[in-house]
């Protein structure tokens, strides 16, 4: 092929993200009449998140789908969709991310010699599992030793809620939960299923505390070098695939929940009110309004209502 491109990500081959990306790659090969070939490397085959981010910047990779919290190490404002309890439902999420909040973040990504495709892909709302019992209100978080992926935003949120966040490697989570090094962890449901965490956890609280998605990004130099007609083909296929992937994740969440309950994980619903009140009281929203800046924060609040 004239353009032989590499796409790396951190999810298993069977995840909707890879299924839809493969469809997009096939469609691109067809529509470009073989001029563009995209090879997918799933499952961290080419490196961990931070390293793949470095690779897509230097051109070792052509495409990468970092979650917002990963790309935030380079583009801090990208973390804005992960503000705790910001989104009530998917309507609010897509209003913000397909609208002005997303545009703001994409512009910031563009300044780092990267190109972000218009449609964000879904990673799902994050939920908490615990071996200490169900988490219903903010009070149940008190002193909870919970494993979180280390990022300033989530650490500050869990501290604000009175929990004790711990930053273990993902590969250690299973045994850390088994040996009770930590009581709890939080992830989207499909990850809880894939990593078999239901084998070592009792309760799952549907807290929806953070929504996270993937930015589909491309190396800036490679993107600029593509002829305009190929750019249209590639962007069209990838954005369409992203829209389908969002539907997949929505359906997947329902079937995964059913599967996890059949395996003995006990689910409970929560309401965001007590959590939001606790975070407000702890000064969490005020702090992050300052860190993201008034403009970005204003765009977020115009989509989801007043937070701070």
């Amino acid at each position: 092929a004239e353009f032989s491109l590499k796409y790396g990500n951190n999810l298993p081959l069977t995840h909707p993200l890879n299924v839809r990306a493969q469809e997009a790659a096939d469609r691109i090969a067809k529509e470009s009449k073989g001029r563009v070939e995209i090879k997918i490397f799933p499952n961290n085959q080419l490196g961990g998140d931070t390293d793949m981010l470095a690779q897509v910047r230097s051109g070792g990779l052509d495409f990468f789908t970092p979650s917002a919290l990963v790309i935030a190490t380079l583009v801090p404002v990208a973390a804005i969709n992960a503000v705790g309890f910001a989104f009530g439902d998917y309507n609010q999420v897509w209003t913000a991310m397909d609208g002005k909040v997303g545009a703001h973040v994409r512009a910031a990504i563009g300044k780092m010699r990267l190109y972000a495709f218009e449609k964000m892909w879904d990673n799902g709302f994050r939920q908490m599992t615990s071996s200490r019992g169900p988490i219903a209100t903010a009070k149940d978080m008190d002193g909870l030793k919970i494993r979180v992926p280390v990022s300033p935003l989530s650490v500050s949120m869990f501290k604000g809620l009175g929990a004790s966040p711990a930053g273990l490697q993902f590969s250690e989570v299973y045994s850390a939960l088994q040996t009770k090094i930590v009581d709890a962890q939080e992830n989207p449901l499909p990850i809880i299923q894939v990593a078999k965490l239901f084998e070592v956890q009792k309760n799952c609280s549907l807290s929806n505390h953070i929504w996270d998605g993937f930015w589909f990004i491309a190396n800036g130099r490679m993107w600029d070098s593509l002829p305009a007609d190929l750019k249209t083909i590639v962007a069209g296929a990838i954005n369409d695939a992203g829209m389908k992937q969002r539907e997949d994740i929505k359906k997947l969440n329902e079937t995964v929940q059913a599967d996890l309950s059949s395996k003995g994980l006990q689910f409970n619903k929560t309401s965001p009110d007590s959590f939001r009140a606790k975070l407000r009281e702890a000064g969490f929203y005020g702090e992050w309004k300052g860190r993201f800046g008034d403009e970005a924060w204003g765009l977020l609040e115009s989509a989801v209502g007043k937070l701070a």
């Binding site: 690779q55 230097s58 070792g60 380079l74 030793k145 966040p165 930053g167 590969s171 045994s175 894939v194």
Partner: protein, 628 residues
């Protein structure tokens, strides 16, 4: 027994008397001392950082979010500077089996080439390394929120210092004319590859063979240190046949060298030295020897048993071996065991204990293939026993004529007294295991608990704690760590080169087309994973091929837990077999035994491993009998 990991038996002594040699010696001493001091201190700092993390989480119930990140940042510096220390001391692992068989002049030239070839790599990689570090400057680390430049700078600094040390060593140890010849040959070969580059590109995947088999083998057998052989082949492959920016390779070094679990390696090495220094090792060996000394090959059985006991702890095989070798080997050597046989057995037990939980390999298989991790954990215990039995058979055969006439037999009273003295040391593995099982510490952190325990036992119970030996122990630890982790980093970069070529899908398709149903597929899998384990290491091979092959295994009627055990052993056999297996060199480095010495002995153990694997593959019940 002198350490044989030196950088050249044929080093010319007169060089030190030449003026250039004298100057080089002085500069090397000064710079070397500074690097030693920093690297040694880093080991100490790591111990305190991890211990602080454990205490904060377990005692005060307030986990430190930054301790892992700081530990990992310092670890990269420790490994890079440790690699510098190792280069100065000539402790980077290499194969000299072939080198030592050629005539003296050819040998001297090969020894010089073993410095100029790495120098060529270091010179070429230095610029990409600076580029990489400067690209990392704007990235902010997630926990401490500092620039990633603080960690990434370790790579150009380390590589630069290695280049300086290699130059000084060259000036100090080798004579001028031979240096000129070696530099000429290195430059000519580099130029040849450079100009051949464009015509190599159309060869496609055949290049994988040219660079990762032919070039690696030529370097390894020519006596170039293993790490540099891997690195040079990868650098040449990526630079000449792909359009990959070379800083990607530096990024792979970074990631490969900073996996937190590998931090257990220096800590267990230091723990080993500590146990020896406090007299705990001697007490323990004395007890075991009094108990088993009159059994032929007795301490070899202790080695197999000890590996089974500790291997569930760290998940990192090199770290497991670091917990055993420094304690057992000195005494075993004193009793006349052949160092080569010891290191061969150690390496073999490394492969044998891969399935014992909680192992990172098992967790990786579970998460990339969808097999229950709990099932894998219970499935892995018995296969390791079966394969271990085969190893013990070889031990029995080899030692069946061991002369025990000199071995003293002890009375029950004496043995009891030895037991009491050895009790604190015997408790150590149980303390470590309990700390993991009870959730006090993670696999990475647990060695620091062992260290704290040994310091207390040394000072208050054995009353033997020679503080003057500490600096030497720390520098020694740093040097070994550098030698081992630098190889891991270079192997990670090499695996990236292989992976990005996309050869894995081709291989899976070819394996599926094999005739013979379940048995045929099992056989092909074994062969494939022995090779993959040898060139890719365990986890990258699983991540690449697990999702492709486990569904096929299930389709042909093989239980997934059974298939997992077979695959892990096959991979382990590759990983721990010379000449390509990194695990073998890890075993050699930790035991301070030259890789050449193990070669004549390891064949028998590898055959035993293969026989054990055949049984595990043929009898599914061994893997699945205990599943609910």
């Amino acid at each position: 027994m002198t350490p044989v990991l030196t950088h050249g038996a044929a080093d010319a002594p007169p060089a030190a008397r030449r003026p250039l040699g004298v100057l080089a010696q002085r500069v090397e001493n000064g710079l070397g001392l500074a690097v030693d001091a920093v690297a040694g201190s880093l080991v100490l700092v790591e111990i305190f950082v991890l211990l602080a993390g454990v205490i904060a989480r377990y005692v005060f119930q307030k986990p430190l979010v930054w301790s892992d990140e700081l530990a990992s940042l310092l670890f990269l510096w420790l490994s890079m500077l440790g690699a510098v220390v190792a280069l100065r001391r000539g402790e980077h692992m290499r194969m000299t089996g072939l080198v030592s068989r050629v005539g003296p002049r050819a040998q001297a030239l090969l020894e010089t080439l073993a410095l100029t070839v790495p120098l060529a790599f270091l010179a070429m990689v230095l610029w990409p390394a600076f580029e990489y570090a400067s690209e990392e400057m704007p990235v902010v680390s997630p926990a401490m929120e500092i620039s990633n430049g603080w960690r990434a700078t370790a790579i150009p600094v380390g590589l630069g210092l290695m280049a300086i040390m290699a130059l000084l060593r060259l000036a100090r140890l080798h004579e001028g004319r031979r240096i000129a010849v070696a530099v000429g040959i290195t430059a000519a070969l580099t130029a040849l590859l450079w100009f051949a580059g464009p015509s190599l590109v159309p060869l496609g995947k055949l290049n994988l063979v040219i660079f990762f088999v032919v070039l690696v083998a030529a370097c390894v057998f020519g006596g170039v240190p293993i790490a540099f052989s891997f690195a040079l082949a990868t650098f040449a492959y990526l630079g000449l046949t792909t359009r990959t920016p070379l800083l990607v390779m530096v990024g792979r070094l970074d990631e490969g060298m900073s996996h937190l679990i590998l931090l257990a390696v220096p800590l267990f090495i230091f723990l080993g030295a500590l146990i020896e220094m406090t007299g705990m090792a001697r007490a323990m060996i004395q007890f075991l020897a009094s108990l088993l000394g009159h059994v032929r090959g007795g301490l070899s059985y202790v080695l197999v048993g000890a590996m089974y006991l500790v291997s569930g702890i760290s998940g990192s095989k090199v770290a497991d071996m670091a917990a055993i070798a420094p304690v057992l080997f000195p005494e075993m050597k004193a009793r006349g065991a052949k160092p080569g046989d010891l290191v061969a057995l150690l390496s073999a037990t490394g492969a044998q204990t891969e399935t014992i939980p909680p192992s990172i390999v098992l967790i990786t298989i579970g998460s990339v293939t969808g097999v229950s991790i709990a099932a894998l954990f219970s499935g892995g215990l018995l296969p390791a026993v079966v394969v271990g039995a085969f190893l013990c058979t070889v031990v029995w055969w080899r030692y069946r004529k061991e002369d025990l006439s000199q071995v003293r037999r002890f009375t029950k009273g004496q043995i009891t007294r030895f037991f009491v003295v050895a009790l604190p040391a015997i408790l150590l593995p149980f303390v470590i295991r309990a700390a993991v099982v009870e959730g006090v510490a993670t696999a990475t952190e647990v060695s620091t608990i062992g260290i704290a325990y040994s310091v207390i036992v040394g000072i208050f119970i054995h009353r033997q704690f020679d503080i003057k030996r500490l600096p030497g122990m720390l520098v020694e630890t740093a040097s070994l760590t550098g030698a081992i982790i630098f190889i891991v980093g270079c192997a990670t970069a090499m695996a990236w080169g292989l992976t990005q070529s996309g050869f894995s899908q081709d291989l899976a398709a070819w394996m599926q087309s094999m005739p013979g149903g379940a048995a045929g597929f099992m056989l092909v899998s074994i062969l494939a994973f022995v090779v993959l384990g040898s060139v890719l290491e365990g986890i990258p091979a699983i991540v690449l091929f697990g999702p492709l092959l486990f569904p096929i295994a299930k389709a042909v009627g093989i239980h997934e837990v059974h298939y997992a055990m077979v695959v892990i052993f096959a991979m382990g056999i590759g990983l721990f077999s010379p000449p390509f297996g990194v695990g073998y060199y890890g075993a050699c480095a930790i035991s301070k035994i030259h890789p050449d010495e193990g070669l004549p002995h390891i064949g028998g153990y590898i055959l035993a491993l293969l026989a054990g694997l055949a049984v595990v593959a043929a009898v599914p019940w061994i893997s699945t009998g205990f599943l609910k």
